[in-house]
Symmetry: C2
């Protein structure tokens, strides 16, 4: 293709509209077709990952360009068809899910405008949209007086938060800020010198064992070290940070040459959706004068529901809060936000550059970790305008109701047990063979007893294994783990529904158990969906159990007595 | 709006197509209208930033949702109309610019698929597209044997690079990796312990004075400290790192308890687009066994042109390289990539989590700093397919030609001088009053002379200021700085064209001068555009000069003799 035709075909303003509109129609049709799932394709594509990978094996950049309709066709056949239908109501496995249709329109606008929000010279209205929506989120969390926000909106040199690609960069921003405030000048002199000046040899982050893996990643990046993320155990069953253990840890650290950069409250653990007691956490932080960060990437959305925001009580005392738009705010990828209680916190990571981000400017890039950024805040602005707080409340309440419902259905089902008590729209459960379901409660009870009581109870219920009860239960769990992994994999492969899986230690204490993990926040996901999913999982579970039980009992004959009617 | 209507209106698959298509048409029309600039709006909106900001001052999240057509209308009137027309051929001020029209289609697809490329369970084909295109970029830089890439594509546990939001996160990834390789276990134990184990009290990064501000930002985030970014002077006129000064610095540091984490080569400085001598830099890095990182966020694109790739000779020896898609690869926001020569480098920042990113998986999130990510690599894949390497060469060659042309036009113009020699598609120049243009060369010559020669030459040309020549020149430059700032601001405000500005120290050595900075890489930008822009700038410059010269000569009467025919 020669120069002039390349230019006239592909670059505005000389592009031919008629041709472009034809391409746009093909694209929109393919997009809608994917979203409507009309062709009845599987959630994870008809063909195997290996077959898909074969489409993408040429290792050299194509030498010559192809015509757009040809590339579009290839895109649709190879890529669109083989994408994961994350927006399907039966896809309840991850926090990536349903988004309102109009976000497609927002992405068209964002792409066409192609603003770079790092700087007002490349983003005019976009700068103010970011600013305003950051104030909206700040207001939602901190609910400061009106004059505070008016002051913010009139003073370009103040930033109450940043947008970023997601929770990870949000957590990084918050914790670097906390580090910089704790150690004066650390951003200039580095950790080694700053520690020496503070007569300190170690700095740590405290978070529950359910904290997101990005906290460790953040610690590694910012030079603190993964090992200095001290994970505090959770209370069994609630998945909330154990406050007594936390205070013990703080007091122990106060005797060492160790500084605590931040205590991190988890508002919606990724694995179970449960929320730490933020009120009590904030009181502890105040008592010990420690930076309080809340990772509300998932659960921050609850602030939009008057029925559920109470669960986040105490978040208004957080020094920093992360909320992800692309999770429970139903936005498309990628949209994260980090907010700060104090409007001067972000000053500690402020930077300028000559050609861009001048000191006196309103450039948003002054306080962000990222440089160039897409105008993704339009999606939040548009959603809040179109759905409103009330609409969000409807969506969020329904999503949480969904989680309660599925959890209840699992718990009352002869072949499943719930493994956490949901608070948001995440829940875990696992398959159990029917023949053990009734016994399992007795087993739990025994497991939690001590010495004499334990032996007595075992003698009553399972006299045959009184000498090796713990070992047998462990074997049983390993067997159940295997079955649950197989259920999850096979269901994913069959492609009618999708739940994810994870491992928890909550109920069986020091033993990890594999659980199925559901995030049923799609507004079209309902009781019928759950019945369908549980039925499929039960059939799969029974199949794997029946297939493997002989082997299992051969290896662990003692376990036989745990089952009824076998 | 009640629950059921919210769901049926906005969420696929129950949404009504007909209504949605109507919205899509309105959106596409607005997008095309913006791109075609048909309404003759200014590049930076008709109304002032302050007036725009007034649209976005409500500080509470709207309580009730509005209908989509209403929100769309508001979006178009308040946001689209008041966005910066970065894709206009007369907008040559920043690296944010023209993109091929079909990227709008890619963004529709990316948004509809809403894949989260952190994990294959939420991104199937997308995972392989990322993988393949990372190999394309790796191949472009390192040109390893075919078997190497086949090995990569068959071994999911190997990563030769990451995509990220842009150059800043790319630089952070590369430099954290370099840090982790230099200090074993640092990601676990942190900087303080790692330094002690290595018997070291300081770690530094070396980069030219033209290094991007993100290097300092990175140093601050990763705990090294901004002050430990040692900036090496550039050679005057070329804007390339001074290699002698660099080696002197390295040798000096070797005598201290200091470790050098990386030497950073700049392949396309943000301010002038010039490229360090990467070949020689790589030799120095080999000699001293130092990690060689190349920030080719802007200039990496030259590898696609057989006419210009020679300028990047030596990049194939870099341990890590950053390239931004959203700069000179003409992609929409945001698209960055970081590539590593060694396929095991990224192992040092690998992480896993139970519910996601399992150890044995092909999940792309294992080695990224970011967590959840958008499927932005589709844009690179599509562009390379549609444009091809040859097409890119056409675009890039034209863009560089443009820079030469404008630089030449400025240099030969009676009212401008070029202030750097362009190598990519960035150039700087500044306005000078016609009456000084001829003298300016003599002034430069004198400025660079030493002692006796200098005095002699001043005596010949400007005898009146022989005792305070330096001071007068400094005053002159301050005056010119003011004029050039005013030109840039006024031109931006008038909205017909846009160039940016920055400050350089190259020609006048220790004095900073304000220069106009152009990035003329839009394929429709041409000689006529430049004539238009220079003519406008000349008129503005003359206006400001004539307006202010009386004041200037009043304060600095000695400067009068520098001007001809005044």
């Amino acid at each position: 293709m020669n120069n002039s035709s390349l230019i006239s075909r592909y670059f505005f303003p000389s592009v031919k509209d008629k041709e472009f509109n034809k391409w746009a129609n093909i694209t929109l049709e393919a997009a809608l077709n994917f979203l409507h799932n009309r062709d009845g394709q599987k959630l994870h594509a008809e063909i195997s990952p290996n077959e898909i990978s074969n489409f993408f094996r040429t290792i050299e950049i194509p030498e010559r360009g192809e015509k757009i309709p040809a590339v579009l066709k290839e895109t649709i056949e190879k890529i669109v068809k083989n994408s994961v239908r994350v927006s399907h109501p039966n896809y309840i496995g991850h926090m990536t899910g349903a988004t309102p249709n109009f976000l497609l329109l927002c992405d068209i606008i964002i792409s066409a405008l192609n603003q770079n929000v790092v700087k007002i010279e490349t983003a005019l209205s976009a700068t103010y949209v970011e600013w305003q929506t950051l104030c909206w989120l700040h207001n939602l969390i901190y609910n400061r007086e009106k004059s505070f926000y008016n002051h913010i909106l009139n003073h370009s040199d103040i930033a109450v938060g940043n947008y970023c690609s997601g929770g990870t960069v949000g957590n990084l921003t918050a914790l670097v800020t906390a580090r910089n405030i704790l150690f004066p000048n650390i951003h200039k002199i580095g950790i080694y010198e700053a520690f020496k000046k503070a007569d300190c040899t170690r700095a740590v982050l405290l978070v529950s064992q359910r904290g997101h893996y990005s906290i460790k990643k953040t610690a590694a990046i910012m030079g603190i070290g993964e090992e200095n993320v001290i994970t505090i155990p959770c209370e069994i069953l609630t998945n909330k940070i154990n406050l007594i253990e936390l205070e013990n840890t703080i007091q122990k650290l106060h005797h060492e040459k160790t500084k605590i950069i931040s205590i991190i409250g988890v508002a919606g653990t990724t694995e179970t959706g449960n929320i730490d007691d933020l009120k009590k956490l904030s009181q502890i932080c105040t008592k010990y004068k420690i930076w309080f960060h809340v990772d509300a990437a998932w659960g921050g959305a609850l602030l939009l529901s008057s029925n559920h925001k109470k669960q986040l009580d105490g978040i208004e005392n957080a020094d920093s809060v992360v909320i992800d738009g692309h999770k429970f705010l139903y936005l498309t990828m990628s949209h994260g936000a980090v907010l700060f209680k104090n409007e001067h916190s972000l000053d500690t990571i402020r930077h300028t550059a000559k050609y861009i981000i001048r000191e006196s400017s309103v450039d948003l890039g002054r306080t962000t970790i990222e440089g160039s950024r897409r105008f993704d805040s339009l999606k939040l602005w548009f959603c809040f305008k179109a759905i409103g707080r009330q609409g969000y409340q409807t969506l969020i309440d329904k999503a949480i109701e969904n989680a309660f419902l599925l959890s209840q259905m699992a718990e009352s089902h002869p072949s499943f047990e719930a493994t956490n008590k949901p608070e948001t729209s995440i829940l875990t459960y696992r398959y159990l063979p029917k023949s053990i379901k009734i016994q399992i409660k007795i087993i739990y009870e025994i497991w939690n007893l001590k010495n004499k009581d334990k032996l007595e109870k075992i003698e009553i219920h399972f006299p045959k294994i009184k000498n090796n009860f713990d070992l047998v239960i462990r074997q049983l769990n390993l067997f159940l783990n295997e079955i649950n992994i197989n259920i999850q994999k096979k269901q994913r492969k069959d492609g009618k529904s999708f739940v994810s899986r994870t491992t928890l230690e909550s109920i069986w204490k020091s033993q990890e158990i594999v659980v199925l993990r559901a995030v049923p926040f799609h507004p079209l996901t309902n009781q019928e969906t759950f019945t369908e999913i549980l039925t499929e999982q039960e059939i799969l579970g029974d199949f794997f159990f029946n297939n493997e039980k002989e082997n299992f009992f051969k290896k662990t004959p003692d376990a036989y007595c745990l089952f009824n009617d076998l």
